[in-house]
Symmetry: C2
Subunit: 255 residues, 2 copies
């Protein structure tokens, strides 16, 4: 199957799940991708890439190292590349790469884990992954109901963090089994929860759960949590979930 056809297909979650592949769009994202340990299968390039200096440099690097990387380079027209949906295709480059194998194995049980329980907006998920990486979170688990972390919009807004931060999808059962086997307490975030500024984790591990944009954390997860934490605010119902996650991670790592 031609890379352009594969790339079009990878806009759909089902195709990403079936093939284990994903798309990285745009100059910056592909730069981050090829600097990461992830396996890149193919790069689709149009003439728009060489229109910026940075794009030209990236193209030269890719063409020189294609053999060593086992990388297929496909040249297409701007219109053909545009047919691979996403907004960054106008930069003239899309890469097809393999999703890494990630699991609960060897996660630091004394670190912070982040659990996404139904975060639906891909932009929010990507921003959260970028933030989790920035604050040294040990792993981010996406529970069912959360946007696919390999969605092109997530990949884009994660700004490369997804390529090195240990983020993966897991079921609620697997996640709960891991947390209880390692005696990691679960702290749910909610409007009106105990101010995070008064919650010290004192060097022990903790799993922070953030929930759906409209409905928050699901009741089954909230029931298993040992604490409900929050951020005191006024004048609005809630904070954006990525902003709230950033504040919680900052508060727990800065003391």
């Amino acid at each position: 199957v031609k890379p352009l056809t594969v790339a079009r297909d990878l806009q759909r979650r089902r195709a990403r799940e079936r093939t284990g592949l994903f798309l990285a769009e745009g100059v910056r994202c592909v730069e981050e991708l090829i600097a990461s340990p992830l396996a890149v299968q193919a790069v689709i390039i149009s003439s728009a890439l060489a229109e910026t200096e940075r794009g030209e440099r990236l193209e030269a690097t890719l063409r020189e190292s294609a053999g060593a990387r086992g990388l297929e380079i496909v040249d297409v027209t701007d219109a053909e590349l545009g047919s691979v949906a996403g907004t960054e295709t106008s930069q003239g480059i899309v890469a097809i790469a393999r999703q890494p194998e990630r699991s609960f194995e060897n996660i630091d049980p004394f670190g912070i884990m982040l659990i996404l329980d139904g975060v639906q907006d891909p932009g929010n998920v990507g921003t959260i992954l970028r933030t989790a990486q920035a604050f040294g979170v040990a792993a981010t688990i996406a529970l069912p109901g959360t946007a696919d972390i390999w969605n092109p919009k997530v990949v884009r807004s994660a700004m490369g963090a997804l390529f090195s931060h240990r983020a993966f999808h897991a079921s609620e059962t697997e996640t709960m089994d891991f947390l209880s086997a390692n005696a990691i307490p679960i702290w749910t975030t909610a409007v009106g929860g105990t101010p995070v500024s008064s919650c010290l984790r004192a060097g022990s591990g903790v799993a922070i759960v953030v929930g759906n944009e409209a409905n928050g954390v699901s009741s089954s997860i909230a029931a298993t949590s040992t604490k409900t934490i929050g951020i005191p605010i006024s004048g609005v119902e809630s904070l954006n979930v990525a902003v709230a996650t950033g504040i919680v991670l900052y508060a727990l790592t800065t003391a």
Copy 2:
């Protein structure tokens, strides 16, 4: 001019600036709008609105109070409403309202002011306004180069905060004149700045400047600042600007 034509036109910044009007799309946003002191001129409704209970309630409230509010209600087809661009039009309601007059007059000089210096993404600007309201920021000033705060996407992601939080556009000169007349120090945010956790404002006013997503704060503004503050991170180049703003506001208001 018919409200539907006006609404279509208001997708463009120039039309919003010329008329002083803006659009609020979707059930939740219009609920927040009519609960605010802002003047609503017209509401455009399609049959999709009555398909949810919440939408039905909103429609009943609007029809009952239209006379008292001096509000024109226009019934259109779903397709006509869909032609008013934005993604929330599928909820069957768009309102046309007047941008409030806001200025530097009577801003609390002992509060926190937020200065947006070229924040370009409307989603980021809206999220920042929501966050500013949540942390009791006295006013948010959008400098030239920043997305229009009355852009429908900003209005949507501000989740109502824009209707009560004192946010407005101003020139760099006006802003600097106000800050120096009131002896308000300017703190610029930048990657690698002094950790905000060690920056106490000790009850005095301060203006926090956040910059463009790619290039940060402009050099002319940075030159006038008395301090450069930041958030210690690792593994990524920077945080999303809305997340960073949230953390800075949290850190400065929680001690």
